[in-house]
Symmetry: C2
Amino acid sequence: MTKVSPLAPERFPDLPSLRGVRLATGTCGLGYKGRNDLMLVELAPGTAVAGVLTRSLTASAPVEWVRKALRGGSARALVVNAGNANAFTGRAGAKAVERTVEAAADLFPCRPSTVFLASTGVIGEPISGEQIAAALPALKGALRENAWEEAAAAIMTTDTYPKGATRTALIDGVEVTINGIAKGSGMIGPDMATMLAFVFTDAAIPADVLQALARRAVDRSFNCITVDGDTSTSDTALVFATAAGAGHRPVGSAGDGHLRQFRRRLEEVMVDLAQQIVRDGEGATKFVTITLTGAASTRAARRIGLAIGNSPLVKTAIAGGDANWGRIVMAVGKAGEKADRDRLSIRIGGCPVAENGAPVPGYDEEPVARHMRGREVDIAVDVGVGRGRATVWTCDLTHGYIDINADYRS
Amino acid sequence: MTKVSPLAPERFPDLPSLRGVRLATGTCGLGYKGRNDLMLVELAPGTAVAGVLTRSLTASAPVEWVRKALRGGSARALVVNAGNANAFTGRAGAKAVERTVEAAADLFPCRPSTVFLASTGVIGEPISGEQIAAALPALKGALRENAWEEAAAAIMTTDTYPKGATRTALIDGVEVTINGIAKGSGMIGPDMATMLAFVFTDAAIPADVLQALARRAVDRSFNCITVDGDTSTSDTALVFATAAGAGHRPVGSAGDGHLRQFRRRLEEVMVDLAQQIVRDGEGATKFVTITLTGAASTRAARRIGLAIGNSPLVKTAIAGGDANWGRIVMAVGKAGEKADRDRLSIRIGGCPVAENGAPVPGYDEEPVARHMRGREVDIAVDVGVGRGRATVWTCDLTHGYIDINADYRS
């Protein structure tokens, strides 16, 4: 039906089975016909969980549930439906959450506080939990270890392809696996976990340590992407550690030396998923990497980078293959972070465009224009005040975005 | 060439001549062929001036000049060119400003600090002041009292029609006139004077009082509009009071009782111009009024209103005539201001859509959808926490915006 994004990876990666995780998909009829829209994940007893949630002040009912459940730090089941976000659904929305949690807790059985939920889709449509509850027993019967791709597909909304990533890491000489799936395409904005992402590992990591690792990795991945700057009511990133592959020494803190590789690989999985979300940005035809250096701090660098990545004028210029770097200057100026206009420099596709606050002498637009006609656009900006740096990923703003969003519901 | 916006007023209003102000237009060849792109305004000796400028940290050379010149509080000439913004032009840009100021100061003659400038157009193109300097003498010879419409036309860039507004006010029983012209269509963002606007009155108002009046009126007009949330490097709003029509008592402070009507009318002129800018928003097909009530403060109300008005998802839904109020909820949530999700209410075109954080019982979408198919869309949101209120104006986001901006320079 929908054409796959031209920026999509060639295929879904091979995610290995992961001890302590089994998945199943099915239909609950809450939004989509003719495709699966419900995912159930069973996690081994003793699984630790951590997460980062939307900062939206109108967060969905499932987000509010997860915020509470995370305090317990342990997970036994994850239920995700696509098609209805169960956001702004008032008391009925909270009731639907209770009903779903109860049904899942009865199924395994487990404590309600170990059942995690996420819902994505239309906001403000009333929802009852009955349809999900009724569908769960069949899904439990179908649980298996290698259903990653179909799980990633079942949670899609306007996504044009399922998103997955995998890495292995050594902890204390023992190999552990990290698998992640995600969905997201529109309503992707900065400064929070902007989408659904579920990452699983068979490492044995206590919930508080996992939380610190998740926070850091989310800040360097999902919090560095933007499609349209809009923040979902449902953004949820959860990390589950089943401990089922754990021959390794106990982990004490997030700074533990033998977690070094795990930290890096966890971040890689999240960056991979985050970039896949941008590559599936609604209407996207170009993938844009913005490297921001010379800022007062890391945070300032990210804010300036996102101001560039969120500017409709920058994004439409990129869509048109127009090397209109004046708009990048404009976006730097509006970010509200320290920048020295007279030391600002800009490179596009590696070519110097501006230096010390003015166009480079004898500036030749041709190689820059050629780079901008490609699918991958690199913009490097140095704002000349400090050592803060960040990388931000975004896409262009095209007619396709308008087509998709001018009539999403019909 | 460009089609006039479907939201344009029927015609340019009749602006009367205004004692102490004479205008002329001509060409300086800095951007446009076949149309005027230079405006000169002569102000009577003794004219007071006040202004509000962009908060961009990469402000243009003319903006930096005006920031200094405003300290003097008096104006004798205003020179505005369209086609080149003289922004991010380094030392050459500052030199071009000096050259233009010098040429205008020699012409009248007057002190350089009483010469005001604005430039609008492409960012980052080198500029010399010679072309403007060479064009000024002819313009001086052509100065006349009734050139408002051609002046408004000469400062346009992507605008599809010239923008003007006029009111009269009584001060102390004496009638004074307020005339304004403005330009703006893209790169229109919140929280600063986002465009060029020049307002003239023959009232006698000291510069410090004029500054207070201008600040207040800008906050309630130009700071309440958004087209794309992008902040120009060149935003400039200036108010000139020639004192040439002043039979009225001296004015002591901005709070003076006999300034009451003048304050209101000045705000009306600016709101009128601000709304005309939104009606000329790039690609706009619908004019949207967002009334935000129940916020913690006026500032919070404006921020939430602008978050709604800036959301690409809200704006594309409006373009599609889609009553997707869930996106309004999303935008309220991302504004970062206090809002009570469970007391939130939304009306579209006067029809209740949501109340107390949930869709209204028996919600009938048909009258709402009918309203949204029209050219004027009214959205009223109450966030249920306080008494702060604000009105914000915006337009929809359409294919036209992409067409205009994907290749502005070619």
